[in-house]
Symmetry: C2
Subunit: 606 residues, 2 copies
């Protein structure tokens, strides 16, 4: 056996900011070296940030990434961390290009590099590309078929990237054939409810399949709509959990491993010289219809001098509500910060949605950066106005009251000649006046507007286009209404446990939900009760069930008809962005897809 | 040689409306039969409409499509067109499923069926799946590897679908190996400036490669942001153009072909019986790293009785401006109509953009369905108000004038306590008041709001979020400003040529562009002149060039810096839809992508 101290740097990168991301690697590599680590691994696409979307297709960006990884290797050596093997993710381009229509231009690859003694000594390109859900990697990358194995202090170490673990065959199968001692997997695996548990199971299973210890490092932080939750972990070759990092925080997880020493037999075949890929490698059946080429590189053959292993940290996984709440806070904080805003503004109606959003904003940014506005109309109850003020007092946010009736009246006057407004048109007008007031405050003071709509509303179109749905970030847009209440109760209980004042007045949690756009209006006038609604939405939207399946699943036919109709008709509302005929090869949105949060600029030196 | 009369039904389908699309096939099949055709082909995904996006992943939808194609075969026989071979596109699911993570659930296929004598006698699944630009077909489909050849009146006929022609190898290579006489390609190929010419070249080249005549039928009409321009065509085995259909119109193109009779040798091997795939087929190297399985089916071996060939129609291609204008009219008409609207409303400022959009709307819908509103503020010039009224008179649209100043003032009053509004905040307010007025008219009268922003504005963020960018459809969102002028002049000249009143007052075309949101304001205060701007945008956006390449291409460094900065910072504006943390497996927009225009409902019988 041979010992290794392995460090996993669970960091928060910024898409497009190659310099800041390189600084991040430099800083955390020093900490890893200080802790005596022999190897430190960073998350997927460390240098470019992840996901970089269509930036990946820009030649100048790919070139800058390739240059950055070479510079970084030299910099680490200059800074005294050259003896530490550093694994970073970056954007590369295929070294064996096979350009044709349908392969992404420039043949980008989602790559990992091993940096050692001032050089990039090995490069690995992601083999399994995900192309479902939030992932479109067939659009952006060509797959890799090389499998470098680096011998570090007598241990054979190999690399994988994220989806490589989720699909059968490929590098995990090749790792077993190549008798690897440690498999490092670098990830940008976004948070989703219940997924952390799946990841643990997966890591254990793949470690057993590979017959190797598995070190899994995940990204942390928010990038546009994705939140990366971290939760990096290490399992041994039997799949036993050895160490786990906390979720939603930047941290360095170190673990001392006892790994099988590479057998001499394993380096038979091509000659092995330090830091250089040798020969043409050995083709190995990857068990997925492809072959991968194993190349072996000698960094250091001698095991490290025996040291006393330290007990690794095994963080508890957060419970479901805490995890979700942290994801929303993280997503909000990073969206605001990475886009250069320092403050937010939101409408505080006295209802549960805006109460929860205000609380999330305070936890993300601090109360002094959160501005709330009550914008009562003639339909607003006194209770609502008071409840909003109560929440503002409890949380310490800046709170103002701007009655909207004079503005609403001026619109009615302006449109009197055109027949005036009544019913839904009059209701929507109130929401749009509020949206316009918030956007004006945003323009005048530089606050980002937070919208307060939840997923149940978004699903059913129970909101006003360019009204309550207008703003810069929507913290709870993917949270169903029943979970909104659950989170509010969780947050209050959390405060209780810490001896703090619960931020959300109980009255806001227990009152029947109402948009207060017409006299005596309740949500239940137009929607099924939220428990029923959310259950149907879960089956229809999450599980893609059709009408027959929904009814078979036990939902009443009337509710099913009603919900399906609402959801299908609300598709245009969910866009907000009017479509238009595409006539060029790069119409915005449809076939040009860039991150909103991106620090990439076409620099003079680019 | 053997004769065949081939018909191409260039039709306008509706996504999700399986019944209406089947009716369309029935109706056009009758016309084809009436004209004596032996074969008629319909566009890609005829029965489901194209592109159906995430509907494809819904089991109930795939099942309904499979059922619909079987029903259609029987219906055509019942209606007396059973002797006509009918090729339709539809959504199928793989008959040899190999489910795994990363392949779309249910293994949908983009398929074509040959309907004959009441049955589906052959099925072909698209082999090359496009996954770039507007296409995401790796997300939706699994590729096909079967290559059925049907012998119809002594001619061997085979099928391809759209991308199959654009990529090398695959079914075109197999067609040559299988000695096919006629290759039918069914398409959903969206309009793009200059693409019709490319298609002609491609069809000629692939016909020569296949050594077979090629019949290319394309979809026509608008579907959300895509416009299909038709332009169906037939080339002979030497690549010579024989027939071409007009663009942007539903039509039946018929052509009499003299084709090589299938050689007896070709049917050697597996026994051939009428209407049945025989044996296991023959594996043929497709030249693209895959093999396809050729199966041969005998429909009718006897050539048709010799008939006098008619001279086919060869429509002229439209010139570039006419083609673009027709695309915008088609896209607007179908978006409005397919979404169930009968009228539109738009703000008419007296500027060139709203003038062009009004003209497009009138050409798409008729003047009586187009409502325009002038919404002058204190910054609006008298000229602008008069020019808008002049355009309304020329085109015959309903025109009203609603001054916005009282409403703007009421907002200023409401925000006085919060410090008031000035500068950009005050400018944006005016645009949002106008947006709110138009949305109120939409809600009150059921008009769809047309926005009037052009691509140059959208690119540089020269517009107001939830102001002028608020609405239901954006006819010129992908048209750069310089082309807006070109189209206005073209439309006026077109009227001149037909002895009609040019719709757009010359004054509107020649005046310096201004948003009129501040005293004496001109676009040139904030943007480079549009000729310069559009040239940089073309290189930066369309060609994905970086800063260095842009400067090398001859653009001034100052302009490049300025434009890049504007474009990069406007990314959030182009969304309009605030992002929010994704926490479920099907967050709207990010990983649930449905067409807006869709007539699919989860029917009781579904």
């Amino acid at each position: 056996m041979a010992q290794l101290r392995v460090a996993l740097a669970q960091v928060n990168t910024v898409v497009g900011d190659l310099e800041a991301n390189a600084d991040l690697v430099s800083g955390w590599a020093k900490r890893a070296a200080h802790r005596g680590a022999h190897l430190v691994a960073f998350p997927e696409m460390t240098l470019t940030g992840y996901p970089a979307e269509d930036l990946v297709l820009r030649r100048s960006f790919a070139q800058a990434s390739r240059t950055a990884v070479d510079h970084l290797a030299r910099r680490l050596a200059d800074e005294g961390t050259g003896e530490l093997a550093v694994i970073v993710g970056y954007l590369d381009t295929s070294r064996t290009p096979a350009p044709r229509l349908g392969r992404p231009a420039g043949e980008p690859q989602n790559a990992a590099a091993v940096l050692w003694r001032g050089e990039v000594v090995a490069r690995y390109a992601k083999h399994h590309l995900p192309n479902y859900g939030v992932f479109d990697e067939f659009r952006y990358f060509v797959p890799g078929h090389d499998f470098p194995v680096v011998r570090l202090h007598g241990v054979d170490v190999a690399l994988t990237i994220c989806e490589d673990l989720w699909q059968d065959g490929g590098p995990v199968a090749v790792a077993r054939a190549a008798e690897v001692g440690l498999l490092v997997c670098i990830n940008g695996s976004p948070y989703e409810r219940g997924k952390a548990f799946q990841r643990d199971e997966l890591a254990a299973r793949r470690a057993r399949e590979a017959g190797a210890a598995l070190a899994y490092v995940n990204l942390v932080g928010g990038q546009d709509e994705l939140v990366f939750d971290g939760g990096s972990l290490v399992v041994d070759a039997a799949g036993r959990l050895l160490a786990r990092a906390e979720q939603f925080t930047e941290t360095l997880l170190t673990v001392d491993l006892d790994l099988p020493a590479a057998r001499t037999a394993a380096s038979a075949g091509p000659t092995v010289v330090a830091g250089t890929a040798v020969g043409t490698g050995t083709a190995v059946d990857a068990g997925d219809g492809t072959a991968m080429t194993v190349t072996r590189l000698m960094l250091t053959g001698e095991p490290v001098v025996a040291f006393d292993a330290q007990a690794p940290a095994v963080a508890q996984r957060l419970d479901s509500a805490a995890e979700l709440y942290h994801a929303l806070v993280t997503g909000t904080r990073d969206y605001v910060g990475k886009n250069g805003f320092t403050s937010v503004v939101l409408g505080l109606s006295g209802g549960i949605d805006s109460a929860l959003v205000a609380t999330i904003a305070v936890d993300a940014l601090g109360a002094n950066r959160v501005h709330t506005v009550a914008m009562p109309s003639v339909h607003s109850s006194t209770g609502s106005v008071d409840d909003a003020a109560d929440l503002a007092r409890r949380t310490g946010v800046t709170h103002t009251v701007t009655p909207i009736q004079p503005v609403v009246d001026s619109f009615h006057d302006a449109l009197a000649a055109a027949g005036g407004l009544a019913g839904l048109a009059a209701e929507n007008l109130q929401a749009r006046v509020r949206g316009t007031l918030l956007m004006a405050l945003s323009n005048a003071h530089g606050h980002l507007v937070l919208t307060t709509g939840n997923k149940s509303e978004l699903a059913t179109g129970f909101s006003t286009l360019y009204g309550d749905s207008a703003g810069g970030f929507a913290p709870i847009k993917d949270v169903p209404k029943t979970l909104v209440w659950e989170l509010a109760r969780w947050r209050n209980a959390h405060a209780d446990r810490r001896g703090e004042t619960p931020p959300i007045p109980e009255e806001i949690i227990v009152k029947p939900p109402s948009a207060e756009l017409a006299p005596g209006q309740l949500d239940s006038d137009r929607l099924p009760d939220y428990t029923t609604l959310d259950a149907v939405l879960d089956d229809y939207v999450e599980r893609d069930q059709g009408r027959t399946e929904l009814i078979t699943a036990g939902h009443s036919p009337e509710t099913v008809e009603r919900v399906i109709r609402l959801v299908d008709l609300a598709e245009y509302k969910r866009r907000q962005n009017p479509p238009g005929p595409k006539v060029t090869s790069k119409a915005f949105g449809r076939d040009r897809r860039l991150p909103i949060t991106s620090h990439w600029r076409e620099h003079p030196s680019g």
